[in-house]
Amino acid sequence: MKSAIKILSVDDEAPMELLMKQYFRHQIRNGEYEFFFAHNGMEALEIMKDTPDIEIVLLDINMPEMDGLTLLALLNEMHNPALRVIMVSAYGDMANIRQAMNNGAFDFAIKPVDMDDLDATIKKAIAQINYVHETQKEHSQLESLKKDLMTARNIQQYILPQVDSAFPEDSDKLDIYASMEAAKDIGGDFYDFFRIDDDHIAFVIGDVCGKGITAALFMAVSRTIIRSKGMQCSTAGACMTESNHLLAAYSVDCMFVTVFCAIYNTKTGLVTYCNAGHNPPHLLRSDGTVEELPRSKNVLVGIFDGVAFEEDTLQLASGDALVMFTDGVTEALSPELEEFGTERLRTILAGQAGKSSRQVIETVRTAIKDFAGDAEQSDDITMLVIKRK
């Protein structure tokens, strides 16, 4: 049941109380209005202190001890956005009424009070109060949603592997680093790396279509399935074939993910990879040469069940690095809406020979930031670099 709207009438004239009780008797009996009465400003403040959910004040201006304008100023200091003050005064007191309106009073009524008119003014005030409550409720829901998004963002960051503690036992053979910057609170990009056996490490980069919560959920499912299949399957192609089969079953409304998945032999430097609709990674040779890997021969993941995914190989020599990224890198926009582009990326990478994986990624990130300037980040920006020592 809706609770009664609490109305405080502040007037030093006793008949006002009787008048209110008489005129609004139906609303009082039905529990729509609950009236409180004070005869001066001091008394009114006491009542407001005891009953802070009073939301309408009918306020006389000329009263002993504390006048209506002073009380209005004190009520304003309570910072209750729902509180509506209706000034009640004589016609000849227009200057004070004007001042009250300028000081935030909601409306006014002229004495002798036309009760029908006052009734209409109270109803108008109630409509506004309800609107304020509705807005406050929506604001609090939004705040709660923002908190949920922050939690989701933390979870998303948490499920990505920690780059600083990756494969310490292979630190003499391998240098790996990654970063993911979501365009929104949460993103649809991901990277992953995990050990398969003593000599093999799998690494994955993926980009789920769309952004926001839907993409983030599909990203979490994709990452989990690919990791789980990567542990079981002997090849990158088999991992993608199996993952695609499962993701096609989970894909609601044609969600999909582009994936580059690879298995790296830490002893030989051989990389066996499967590119499933993802943009081609770049190979940064130790002499500064940059090669773009061939385009994907496979379809993206999560749409067509029963498709077999092909794989390829490449050889990393000592000092070579494989630079994987999502299209948020090459499609980052400048304020003039120019794309960062593959050529710019290649030029930057060419100057990174001999640098650590972390340095490579940080240099590219800085270049993108400089390029984008004040332009809003429109897509997730994710990079994964694996370098053979």
């Binding site: 279509c209 769309g210 044609c254 943009n279 379809v299 067509f304």
Partner: protein, 103 residues
């Protein structure tokens, strides 16, 4: 965003005339409009891509929606597809699933 596409149905063929982009800001609305044809035995969806220059992953999702959700895997046709759009479809491996025509 102002609607920049048009959907027409003639028999079992759905023709979608696209604007210059099919991206996150207009693709979901087009998908919603296409959903109305879900149970109408669509056999072919023709995308008139004469004006299309930008196709994002959201746009690809709309195309896949037609393939997966309208009828029994209808034929997807792209008319007058520019190289830059063809490159995107090629990159994500969708070229074999689409018929390309010039007009």
């Amino acid at each position: 965003m102002e609607k920049d596409y048009e959907v027409k149905k003639e028999g079992s063929v759905l023709t979608v005339t696209l604007g210059n982009k099919l991206v996150a800001i207009n693709a979901p609305a087009l998908t919603d409009e296409l959903a109305a044809y879900k149970d109408q035995d669509i056999e072919k969806v023709v995308f008139d891509a004469t004006n299309l220059i930008i196709l994002s992953s959201s746009g690809i999702r709309t195309i896949m929606y037609c393939k997966q959700k309208l009828g029994a895997s209808p034929e997807i046709v792209f008319v007058n597809c520019k190289k830059m759009v063809l490159d995107v479809l090629d990159l994500v491996g969708l070229r074999p699933f689409i018929t390309f025509k010039e007009r």
